[in-house]
């Protein structure tokens, strides 16, 4: 066990040093892409826990990310900033009273999201499969409608702005490491084996004594915690949030990432995030005037990107890594 901790510490230290160096020497564009990448890795890895590892086809991440983003934003903004920007109705006393620094705000975001997940679990895990997808999809809509209409808590469609920008590459790196470590430890623990059992055959798992509801709820709450933290990081990175940012498209993007990387594969989710999030930026050169024509082609990158996605899914039906991990594949070749 101590060998494991030494290895973990070494890897973490190496990653943090690398991130520190990139922050000092890379240009702001690359750093921004890395920051975005980090946030989406947190979201994708935690979403994969419920959707890939436990096999529950849930479409809720946009809801939890929204909760996390709003909680962090409201905790980081001070009283004057809130009074200044709440335009549609005056902020409620509770909203005015809450205030905290960055890291507590992120943790509170995670805890709130995970409490919501706990309550939600009683309702949504009464159904399975496609029905679960629809119920959880509804949850995402409810959160967004709440954000638009309860303007004394969320400032409605105006959203919140002027959130302090404290989410730098280092903080995002820390939370990426934490989320990956936690999720991997769960996957390789007895809980992880129970989750996989539920994925492969829910009835059989129940028959051999797995408490299906409990395990599903654990997975759901863990997933929600990191989605909340990721949402908080996103709010602090962009410094402004509004309800339309957390539409179903966000869930859809995450779904593409984890299906592309391989459902149930944590390293696959990381790979998928790199391809989808960074790929969209790398392909920007296609939009620019090029060798063949002098005019710009806005949107060409989207077309090429879609073709790449189709090709990957045609040749790797189960995603790039299937449900294996990168290290499984490398070991086989040794």
């Amino acid at each position: 066990m101590s060998k494991y901790f030494i290895r973990l510490a070494l890897i973490s230290a190496a990653v943090m040093i690398l991130l520190y160096i990139s922050m000092q020497y890379l240009d702001s564009y690359t750093v921004m892409i890395l920051e975005n990448l980090g946030i989406f890795i947190i979201l994708a890895v935690s979403y994969n826990l419920i959707n890939g590892v436990t096999g529950q086809f849930s479409l809720e991440p946009n809801g939890f990310v929204a909760i996390g983003a709003y909680v962090t934003a409201l905790l980081l903004l001070d009283k004057n900033a809130k009074l200044d920007q709440f335009m549609l109705s005056d902020p409620s006393d509770f909203i005015l009273a809450i205030h905290s620094s960055f890291v507590p705000a992120l943790l509170i975001s995670g805890i709130v999201a995970s409490l919501v997940a706990f309550m939600l679990a009683f309702a949504v895990f009464r159904v399975r499969g496609d029905y679960l997808a629809i119920v959880t999809l509804g949850f995402g809509f409810i959160i967004r409608i709440f954000a638009v209409n309860q303007s004394e808590y969320t400032n409605g469609s105006m959203g919140l702005s002027g959130i302090s920008n404290e989410a730098n590459l280092m903080w995002i790196g820390v939370f990426v490491l934490i989320s990956i470590t936690v999720v991997l430890n769960i996957v390789y623990s007895k809980f992880g084996r129970a989750m996989k059992a539920i994925r492969d055959d829910e009835d059989a798992a129940e028959a051999i004594g797995v408490d299906v509801f409990k395990i599903k709820t654990y997975a759901f709450m863990t997933s929600a915690f990191f989605e909340g933290v990721g949402g908080g990081l996103m709010a602090s990175l962009l410094t402004t949030i509004s309800p339309e940012q957390f539409s179903f498209m966000l869930t859809f993007e995450l779904l593409i990432i984890i299906v592309l990387g391989g459902l149930g594969s944590i390293s696959g989710s990381i790979l998928g995030t790199i391809i989808v999030i960074a790929g969209m930026e790398w392909l920007r050169f296609l939009d620019e005037p090029n060798f063949f024509s002098d005019t710009a082609h806005p949107g060409l990158r989207m077309v090429v990107f879609s073709v790449i996605l189709i090709l990957i899914m045609l040749f790797a039906r189960k995603g790039i890594l299937g449900n294996k991990e990168l290290w499984d594949i490398v070991k086989v070749k040794k």
Binding site: S28, G162, P298
Partner: protein, 373 residues
């Protein structure tokens, strides 16, 4: 002899190339995605403005670098960072709308890059930021313009207000309309709410019929406005509707509402029939020539003005690539001849401009009046 001429020619060519630098202006805009239509309209205006003034006074060539943000916040942040650190632009035009411009503001403040947002009307965009400016008026002003026009020109004593709850823009205009309209002695009978994407407005229309106001103030976007007008006509409600620049996408509006859209009045930034300056007359003529006699949309006019504001500031600087100098001179813009009128930008970054009131007649925007601040 030939050789000397050739050498001379080549050296002259090289030297002029060396003397005249390329000055880059970045443009962040939604050229794809849900609001790409507005981005494309604005791009047309910026392109034409660039054609009209492709160089600075000192012969430096201006190069426009377009980056698409697909109307998305995270992509806007990427795009702005790319323009600043990779393309090394001196100034930025964008991002078109308020919600994306709010992402731009802290980044350009950090890297001291002067920026002009073409149609970001939310008042918080330029808040405490010496590098952020805009080319348009702000939401509170447009609401006040509508209230002033309703009282002074339409002599409307009572009004019903329709607000699109899911659009910050709509709420911003309506709130200021109500405040100012009451101050001017008008009476707001009812405030009704809709949500973008609604299709059936019969319930709110019948409550308008019951209230029987002189006018209906509806700062909505074109798709909802079109449906409301169409259904009002079938229900036999012939009230004067007043809207904001959100309906200026006349293709959508008249395409759906057809002749039900006639008589709709809305406040806007610009109407080509009332071109206020020499430059705007020139701009309108060239626009018609370049784009098939299409009516100049106000987005194009504001896009062009953003470009002219930046170029004017660059001309005042000894070194046009000096970001600090350009930023300082943008906020010193005084009575600059622009497309939408004479532009003055104070330290706050919010220009004082007059608005026009247009009326829809046969799918065209007919100029009705100019309202001064």
């Amino acid at each position: 002899m030939k050789k000397t001429i050739l050498t001379l020619g080549i050296s002259a060519l090289i030297s002029t190339n060396l003397l005249a630098k390329d000055i880059k202006i970045g443009v962040v805009m939604p050229l794809t995605g849900a609001i790409a239509g507005y981005g494309q309209m604005t791009k047309k205006g910026i392109d034409l403005a660039h054609e009209m003034q492709p160089t600075l006074n000192n012969k430096d060539k201006i190069v426009l670098v377009y980056v698409d943000n697909a109307g998305d916040k995270a992509q806007t942040a990427n795009a702005v960072n790319r323009l600043i650190s990779k393309d090394k632009v001196v100034a930025i035009i964008g991002a078109l709308t308020s919600s994306n411009s709010l992402v731009v503001a802290p980044i350009i403040k950090k890297y001291h890059t002067p920026t002009v947002a073409p149609v970001a009307t939310n008042k918080r965009v330029t808040y405490a930021n010496p590098y952020m400016n805009r080319a348009c008026f702000i939401d509170p002003f447009q609401g006040k313009v509508a209230a002033k026009f309703a009282v002074d020109n339409l002599h409307a004593k009572t009004a019903v207000v329709i607000i699109d709850k899911s659009q910050a823009y709509s709420a911003g205009l309506a709130k200021n309309f109500i405040k100012d309209y009451k101050k001017r002695g008008g009476k707001v009978l009812k405030v009704l709410f809709i949500t973008s994407g609604d299709k059936d407005f019969k319930a709110i229309l019948s409550s308008i019929k019951a209230a029987n106001p002189d006018i209906v103030y509806a700062p909505l976007y074109a798709p909802e406005m079109a449906l409301i007008l169409k259904q009002a006509k079938t229900l036999g409600i012939h009230k004067q509707f007043l809207a904001g620049d959100g309906v200026s996408d006349l293709k959508t509006l008249t395409g759906v509402a057809k002749d039900a859209s006639n008589n709709l009045m809305y406040s806007d930034h610009f109407n080509e029939a009332a071109a206020p300056t020499k430059l705007s007359k020139q701009f309108v003529a060239k626009y018609h020539q370049k784009y098939n006699n299409e009516q100049v949309p106000s987005f194009a006019a504001n896009g062009a003005d953003s470009y002219f504001i930046i170029v004017n500031a660059m001309n005042k600087c000894k070194n046009p690539a000096d970001k600090e100098c350009v930023a300082k001179n943008i906020t010193k813009t005084k009575k600059l001849e622009g497309v939408t009128g004479y532009i003055t930008i104070p330290k706050s970054g919010n220009p004082t401009k007059s608005a026009v009131i247009n009326q829809v007649q046969d799918s065209k925007a007919v100029y009705k009046a100019t309202v001064n601040p």
